[in-house]
Amino acid sequence: MPARYTRTAILLHWLIALTMLGLLGVGLYMTDLKLSPAKLKLYSWHKWAGVTVFALALLRLAWRALHTPPPMPQAMPAWQRRGAEAAHAVLYLLMFIIPLSGWLMSSAKGVQTVWFGVLPLPDLLAKDKQLGHFLEEVHASLCYGLMALLVMHIGAALKHHFIDRDDVLTRMLPHR
């Protein structure tokens, strides 16, 4: 069993982590803005970055299929292991369904997603005002769920590092 994550896994983890935090921040900020060129720009970048997270999450899933992640510390009680596994499973799920819900919402609102202004994604839903509004709420609720989970995830990582003094955090940090 490896003691650390591979460079690829670490790179993907932190790329997604930073993009995700940026997306959450921009998402909270942009929705309250009055319509302006800046707002349109932010929405487009938000969508492009969200699609990017989806693509990176696919790569992470492929990594998981090909590698065994380092085991959890021996000292961890069984309930904590199960909790950590469940939390990670839900985090993976959210990396896919949050971008997906945003993409579907865009379609329903009649604003196609064109990745970086170059690659048009197909509109999976026809324009439908009510459905668009519903998907907006779904997208927002999932994001609040993600925020709660991230607080747990970061809190747990810090607890492992500073209280349990194990390698759970350091094995995911960039190294030489």
Binding site: K34, L35, S36, P37, L40, K41, Y43, S44, K109, G110, V111, Q112, T113, V114, G117, V118, K127, K129
Partner: protein
């Protein structure tokens, strides 16, 4: 004066205006549409003008006598997003209070072969007039004639989308106007 002369003169006087048997000039408004596609951040965004009037006459046998006048109420535009609709009414965009109508008035119509035609005319919006060229198809459908076509216009030519909206990297200058007019025979 010859007794039939007044009648002959009357016929002459009416002739240019009289609808030939094949002229279509009765607009079926509920089957007609005026729409547009604008591009924001390279994303095509559609909308429609809900209120417009049109007087169109076309005889496919002599298209050069065809005429069209179309008056659109910019305030009636709908892109499906409330905040966008509202923004468009403002001074930077249509300034709908000051300029309640945008019009197209044809200057010439000609056949391009097959069912295809070309209408040239003057487009007036926000007090500015520009020449536009629209190509369209005219296809019989039952007893009606269905005109479908489009033409590009540059929004900044008309001062539509000024101020910070003048940045064409955000909203493209070129807007595609699309239309369908269904005409019944007769006046």
């Amino acid at each position: 004066m010859h007794p039939t002369l007044p009648l002959a003169l009357l016929c002459l006087a009416l002739a240019p205006g009289a609808a030939s048997a094949d002229e279509y000039a009765k607009l079926l408004l509920d089957k007609s549409r005026v729409e547009f596609t604008a591009k924001q951040m390279n994303v095509p965004t559609d909308g429609a003008f809900k209120r417009f009037k049109a007087q169109i006459a076309l005889d496919p046998a002599s298209p050069q006598t065809g005429t069209a006048r179309i008056d659109v109420e910019p305030a009636s535009w709908d892109a499906g997003l409330a905040e966008v609709n509202e923004e468009m009414l403002g001074k930077n965009w249509f300034d709908a209070k000051q300029f309640p109508t945008a019009s197209f008035v044809s200057t010439s119509v000609k056949a391009l072969g097959g069912d295809r035609y070309e209408a040239r005319g003057k487009m007036t919006m926000k007090g500015k007039t520009r020449d536009v060229v629209a190509t369209f198809l005219a296809k019989p459908q039952g007893t009606n004639l269905v005109l479908t076509g489009s033409f590009p216009l540059k929004r900044l030519d008309y001062g539509v989308g000024t101020g910070t909206w003048g940045d064409t990297d955000i909203v493209a200058d070129e807007v595609q106007v699309k239309f369908q007019f269904v005409l019944a025979q007769g006046k």
